[in-house]
Symmetry: C2
């Protein structure tokens, strides 16, 4: 009975959320802003990868002030400060303990940018491999990170996340030598079974491995939006 | 308005959950069963630590059939199979995508043990550093794991979890050499600011570091229950 009530309320909220998300996505597309939502477990390396990606995009000619970040956290400003220190335009989205980001929060956070024009807008979602996948954040593209130390056997354990994303970015690959059991082929195979179109990138922010390929992919996704 | 409705429904459910949890805790205490809830991010090493702990308890004289595990996962049986392969009595708790474990699930899972008597009962909660902390699972003791590769800066980012537990078990300490930035002293200091009574264990299931101390602590917690 209690569970039923929650399910019904949740369904209403998700429907409202989806409508807002579609409108937000269309509004950003008109402004030529490509919006990507980055999801992962705590400690998978979201902030570090984001900073590495922004650096690459900059090297390829995207001005720093054409990139913005919405930095979501339950309570603190730990990651938001790292982004600010790197000189990136960002807004801190404090969910006050809520385990995911939904559209009301995205809209409110975005309003703080005061109509600045971006080529790329990134959302660093809450560190959580479960709940964020359920809520459309209005992004044109959703990606997830999985770090090598977490282990390769996560597809069957957290399927909604693997099903929700366009790309799986394997991070901290400089740890592979310490993880002889990490079966990259099995990870790719299992991810493809669940999500046949999923693109897999093997990266390390420490060594730079895979970052060029990933940056090219993001550029391509943005160009696809503009066409 | 939508958020309000969710909060109200959630409050009802949490109140009902707490009552059930107290009754379950008392029932287990009468049977001299000590129940511990193990929480962490995905890939922090919950299953591996649990198997190492069970092995230690066995070496110290606890019979294998006096230990039981409730193994929670969103959908798969990946971890439940590992536990079964080790010969441990276990029940798979499949939450069907729900991001945490609550009492109805614990009671149902426990019924499958058919009144077997345990000295130790363990719950491996869903891999999620956010939601599980909110729901009392009827355990006598809640602990969390944080693995070294996740980074030390998690206390301020995931405070409800750090506030909810008696012990923080730092895992994968054999990775410390690869993580010169991991500030163990800062982690301990920040955890103690948030939760003054928190006990911190520094462990590695690979090297065995810290496992004796941790096992002694669990034994002590059980004895405190029996007194």
């Amino acid at each position: 009975m209690e569970e039923m009530r929650v399910v019904e309320v949740k369904r209403d909220i998700l429907a409202g959320n989806d409508e807002k998300a579609d409108a937000f996505r269309a509004m950003l597309a008109e402004r030529s802003t490509f919006f990507a939502d980055i999801m992962a477990s705590p400690g998978a390396g979201k902030t570090t990868l984001l900073l590495a990606l922004i650096k690459k995009l900059r090297e390829r000619g995207c001005e720093l002030d054409r990139m913005g970040v919405i930095e979501a956290d339950l309570e603190s400003m730990v990651d938001a400060l790292k982004i600010k220190e790197a000189g990136v335009t960002s807004v801190e989205l404090n969910t006050k303990g809520v385990c995911h980001v939904e559209m009301g929060m995205v809209e409110r956070a975005f309003s703080f940018f005061e109509n600045r024009a971006f080529d790329y807008l990134f959302l660093e979602n809450i560190g959580n491999l479960v709940c964020p996948s359920e809520f459309d954040t209005g992004a044109h593209c959703r990606v997830m990170l999985l770090s090598v130390p977490e282990g390769y056997d996560k597809v069957y354990k957290y399927p909604p996340m693997f099903a929700a994303v366009e790309a799986l970015i394997v991070t901290k690959c400089d740890y592979l030598s310490l993880n002889p059991d990490f079966d990259m082929a099995a990870l790719k195979r299992q991810a493809a079974v669940l999500n046949s179109g999923i693109k897999v990138f093997v990266t390390s922010a420490r060594t730079g491995e895979g970052l060029d390929e990933l940056t090219t992919w993001f550029e391509g996704r943005r160009h696809a939006l503009l066409d």
